[in-house]
């Protein structure tokens, strides 16, 4: 019985990756809370997960100076800008409360995905041991 790890784990590695990426993005928003003209950004998680697995056509970059064609996208989904509830005078659109809430919920979701992945692995291990 051939076992493909990929099919066993399903979309979870991709989800974990995406959560990590989103964490980075939210950290960036929080870091730039006092930077004039900074625009808060986020990933549309649902849209990216829907596209997960589809191969994206990209230009090959052969030198370090090449600008990536997927620069403003994640897995083919363009990054979104937040619409500020209360725009500030300096053009910054970071709403700290919102970003912190998103950051903590995203962190919990990361841990959840991690937990599921870990259980998958222990399941596979106990199957292999046949105990």
């Amino acid at each position: 019985m051939p076992i493909s790890l990929d099919s066993l784990l399903g979309p979870m590695p991709e989800a974990l990756n995406l959560r990590a990426r989103r964490n980075e993005l939210l950290a960036s928003n929080i870091a730039n809370a006092d930077t004039p003209n900074y625009k808060a950004r986020d990933i549309d998680f649902r849209a990216v997960m829907r596209n997960a697995g589809d191969e994206q056509l990209r230009l090959a970059s052969t030198q370090s100076g090449h600008i990536s064609t997927s620069a403003d996208t994640y897995a083919g989904i363009p990054l979104k800008y937040r619409v500020p509830a209360q725009p500030s005078m300096d053009g910054n659109t970071v709403d700290m409360q919102q970003e912190q809430a998103e950051f903590s919920s995203n962190s919990v979701m990361y841990q959840t995905t991690l937990e599921f992945l870990g259980r998958k692995f222990s399941g596979i291990k106990s199957t292999l041991r046949g105990e």
Partner: protein
């Protein structure tokens, strides 16, 4: 691994906020200093924050840290005060006082320390996530 970049990003923000705290401390410390010339008077300093250059972390432009572009001096007018007793007074009996606004500086200080705390929290959370990831499958 994206979680490692969070350390760079939040770290850059912490260092930027630290610069802001430093300039605020300098401003508060010099709020009462006087000079005998207008040019010699202390002027409030403020750091200028900017988002880092695009793609600095090699992952595309979406996640960026903070950099301090420089420190600019306030061009608010310095106050001239009549104080003939002051040893720093000029021949007309005037001293030039710094243009530090105490209220502004206190607000800046609180804002900077809150932002600093936020970034420390981000680093803490990311560290926990990273350690949990290392333990995956155990």
């Amino acid at each position: 691994m994206s979680l490692f970049k969070v350390f760079d990003i939040a770290g850059s923000a912490m260092s930027a906020q630290n610069t802001r705290l430093n300039t605020t401390a300098s401003n508060l410390a010099n709020a009462e200093t006087v000079s005998s010339t207008e040019e010699g008077a202390y002027r409030a300093r403020q750091p200028v924050f900017a988002a880092m250059m695009k793609g600095l972390y090699g992952t595309g432009p979406e996640s960026v840290g903070v950099q301090v572009r420089g420190v600019v001096e306030s061009d608010a007018p310095v106050q001239m005060r009549y104080a003939p007793d002051n040893p720093m007074a000029n021949e007309d009996g005037y001293v030039y006082q710094s243009n530090v606004n105490m209220v502004d500086e206190m607000v800046n200080m609180i804002s900077a320390s809150r932002s600093y705390q936020n970034n420390v929290e981000v680093i803490n959370t990311s560290k926990q996530l990273l350690l949990a990831t290392l333990r995956m499958g155990e």
